[in-house]
Symmetry: none
Subunit: 230 residues, 2 copies
DNA sequence: GCGCCGCTGTCTTGCGCGTGTCATCAATCC
DNA sequence: GGATTGATGACACGCGCAAGACAGCGGCGC
């Protein structure tokens, strides 16, 4: 999962520094500027995943930056969170109408901004916000029914998919065949436990990639577990 | 354009009544309740397009309602706007972390709530706000009922149109036949799920263009999804 | 009213892939 | 070495989807 790229546009230096620090610590890739024109430049050359934009900044005004970002094809759908010092409702409504996705009124707590950013990203790019399962070099998107290993898409049958999903939900944990049957089949009681072996084998060869270890660990007389592999 | 369905959960009776009136006047289909358990019931039997949720309500608490909505497959992606008491930052952060999409602090003006609802809907389901949808090389204009692929107009039947519109609102996401029936038919319960297959086929041949891939992906034993194709 | 045509839902057929079981071989344990 | 447990390959069955056909229905023009 790549670090979400943030563009922070804030001309209050101490606040900007604080936010940059906090967001970096949370695993975001932050690019900061105090200037509206620079912001447009940065956004054009490397579109970020989200923009945090102060309403009152040097150079081009916040609302104008917002409008121009929306006008450009590459940045039209980048979510924008506005920071405003004014509590005036008119400004907030106008901000939303201009195309901001969200706003926060100063003063605010960094913690709340963090939560907001996470919420917006979760909505816009689910893959960035943990709606996808990720274990080692593998990712599974339960919404799109997509599985990848090292970026390359894999093809699994329905049963292998359910099996892998369950294993990825509890990595490193060992499950008995009975537990796996219960989890990935809906008529578990009618099915032989040996069948699990077969599907584990099919899963193994479906996720097989040259030069990489088998992430599925066999535990003799106990069951199977999924280990993170990089 | 169908009226967006709102579920309003608010136990302050005068406020609830006011909001119900205002939103109805704006063309929304509003269902209101003061009770968290009823809200879950309503949401289960007929998933709304958006939920307005007071944090402090009778019965199951707001945060719990939010969590349960997120847990259910059918309502996991319904946007939620929560209403909190002034200054309760903890509630706001927890709400956003639980999966609320937005919040408003009491007291607020109905006008601002209207703007927020419109903003969230525009973001989540642009078609409800009359914006043209765009996925890969296809565009759909919900106002003009026009569909194009690579600039060339397509001819779809009514059912194919509704089906495609729903798929384009959530690209890459896999929908079960039941979900598609629910979304594109108005008497979904009287209709065989196999019928979806047939309309998917008709949709496929309607959007077929020589030299371009089929954007509709079949996911065995799960459903269908629309993939962006250029 | 009559006939035409487009849309829709269901059914049938055909095919391919996924699935469960078994027999056999390999590995591990005691 | 014998016994137990897992891995592998083969195979037959059936489920799930695609495609074609068709009848019912409603709108529309004449």
């Amino acid at each position: 999962m790549p670090a979400p790229k943030l563009l922070l546009v804030e001309d209050d230096a101490p606040l900007a520094e604080l936010l940059e620090y906090r967001f970096s610590a949370e695993g975001y890739a932050v690019r900061a500027t105090a200037n509206g024109d620079d912001a447009l430049l940065y956004a054009a050359e490397d579109p970020p995943d989200l923009v945090i934009l102060d309403w009152m900044i040097e150079g081009t005004s916040g609302i104008e930056v917002c409008r121009r970002l929306r006008r450009r094809e590459e940045t039209a759908h980048v979510p924008i969170i506005m920071l405003t010092a004014r509590g005036a409702e008119d400004d907030r409504v106008r901000g939303l109408e201009t195309g901001a996705d969200d706003y926060l009124t100063k003063p605010f707590s960094p913690r709340e901004l963090l939560a907001r950013v996470a919420a917006v990203l979760r909505r816009v790019r689910p893959a960035l916000a943990g709606e996808t399962l990720s274990v080692g070099d593998m990712t599974l998107d339960p919404v799109a029914f997509r599985v990848e290993r090292g970026g390359a898409p894999l093809h699994l049958g329905p049963t292998e998919y359910r099996l892998l999903k369950y294993l990825m939900e509890h990595p490193k944990r060992v499950f008995s065949r009975a537990q796996l049957l219960e989890a990935a089949w809906d008529n578990a009681d009618e099915i032989s436990e040996r069948t699990v072996d077969v599907h584990i084998r099919r899963l193994r060869q479906a996720i097989e990639v040259a030069g990489r270890d088998d992430p599925i660990r066999t535990v003799r007389s106990a069951g199977y577990a999924l280990e993170p592999v990089r």
